[in-house]
């Protein structure tokens, strides 16, 4: 039962790995991913490296030498402090809080992902902040590594998903909110919305995707720690940017008070509650 040459490993235990037997740019197990660097570079989220063979250097995005690389493939200045560039020769293991880790290949494609779920990506991809706050979009050709709580499920639109289960989406043009309006109409619904009496199922609000593409879901509703996204440009027309207050359709809202998109308050106003 013992693997040859490993007298100290009991049966059933994983065989020890060395730089020869470690996979190249592939998963070691469901929770660990191995990246091979041959003088190449990878972007990775700070602190997700658990071990490496060889000589690898980790530099903050702000490192002067990386200026060119950052200019071509890192278009999220607000995330810069959360990312580093690994550069050198060797094999490096990535993992994140024992969450499931998967790699995905993009071929001249685009994928939008919750910022906390993205662990690493090849510089051949360009990372951009999504218009949807808290999400990042990867564009181009290359490999990236993402973490999820439980295995990832791929779904085809049209589909409505629970906000906490959403990891990301590829090629879908229409991420939008969906509310079960019927639940909040009528007298009983009004009382419920105002007082909470009668209880809610907790599933009145979903994200809706239609069109051609793929939606990525995790099999739990535990969210990854959100990475700080920094402040958005103070500009009119930028969602979440709070630029130019009181310009369009924000009547009745106290100026300066931040409001989540799709907050229940909107609904109540919609129904004249």
């Amino acid at each position: 039962m013992n693997p040859a040459g490993n007298p100290s490993m009991p049966a059933g235990a994983p065989a020890p790995l060395d730089p020869m037997s470690l996979p190249s740019d592939d998963s070691v197990n469901a929770y660990t991913f191995c990246v091979e660097l041959r003088g190449s570079q990878w972007f990775l989220q700070k602190g997700k490296m658990i071990a490496y063979y060889g000589s690898i250097e980790f530099n903050g995005i702000g490192h002067g030498r990386l200026d060119r690389l950052v200019r071509t493939s890192f278009h999220s200045p607000l995330h810069a402090s959360d990312w580093v560039v690994a550069e050198g020769q060797g094999k490096m293991l990535l993992a994140d809080r024992a969450f499931d880790v998967n790699s995905y290949d993009l071929e001249d494609g685009n994928l939008t992902i919750r910022s906390g779920n993205l662990l690493a990506f090849q510089p051949t991809l360009a990372l951009k902040q999504s218009i949807v706050p808290g999400f990042l979009t990867l564009i181009g050709t290359g490999k990236f590594v993402a973490a999820s709580n439980g295995p990832v499920v791929f779904m085809e639109p049209p589909i409505r998903v629970d906000p906490q289960a959403l990891v990301g989406w590829a090629d879908c043009p229409s991420p939008c909110h969906h509310y079960d309006h019927g639940y909040l109409t009528g007298v009983i619904g009004g009382v419920r919305a105002l007082t909470g009496i009668g209880g809610t199922s907790g599933e009145e609000h979903q994200f809706e995707f239609v069109g051609a593409g793929t939606v990525l879901l995790q099999s739990s509703e535990a969210l990854m720690a959100e990475q700080a996204t920094g402040a958005l440009p103070q500009q009119a027309g930028v969602p979440g940017g709070q630029g130019a207050p009181g310009q369009h359709g924000q009547r009745g809202q106290q100026p300066g008070q931040p409001r989540l998109p799709g907050q229940l308050g909107d609904l109540q106003r919609r129904f004249g509650l």
Binding site: P14, Y31, I50, A51, Y53, G60, G62, L93, A95, A98
Partner: protein
Amino acid sequence: MPCSDPISDGYRRCVATFRLQGSRVLAVDMSGDAVKAKNGSMVAYDGQMAFKKMTGGGEGVRGMVTRRLTGEQMTVMEVKGHGTCWFADRATEINLVSLHGEKLFVEAGNLLCTDAGLRTGTHFTGVRGASQGNGLFTTTVEGSGQAAIMSEGPAVVLRVSRQYPLTVDPGAYVAHQGDLRQNLQSGVTFRTLLGEGGGEAFQIRFEGEGLVYVQPSERTTIAGDV
């Protein structure tokens, strides 16, 4: 069944046999022999078992004082009896290690269960421990027999050889065995102070021949954010 370890001179030595039931529960078959386990980690047993708290981890007064002084504290119980006893702790993954006279270095918090015949002790590791936030010392397990160590997520076992030294994040380090030298590498530069560090300011470098166990998760360490 537990007495399945025939020794060449004809005696059959009764040794507790460790096996994993799933990846998060350890089953130990015993026939009159004993194991040392983390206090309170028993989840079930069948047969006759006696649980006794071992003050100072069964290392005597000297060991007890050492552990108290070094902060590498373990609360250990001795489990003795006939039958099967199951151990688990906070649904962490369990890894079995067989020792044949060599030494296993493991963080006290990651040690679940050992054969009663294995000696445990404390070992000075130097500054590495400090960066890990769990003191300057680590626990050693020595002798012949089996031990079970815990990790958050299944541990990856990495071989270190002369031509392939290994560098590990202190927060992901669980245990190591073999003839390894370790030293702390610090990548703290003025950039770290500016908040533009590489995120991996402290690393442990292992050189020599042996095995290192790392977990796919990082403990919160002092070095975690720099």
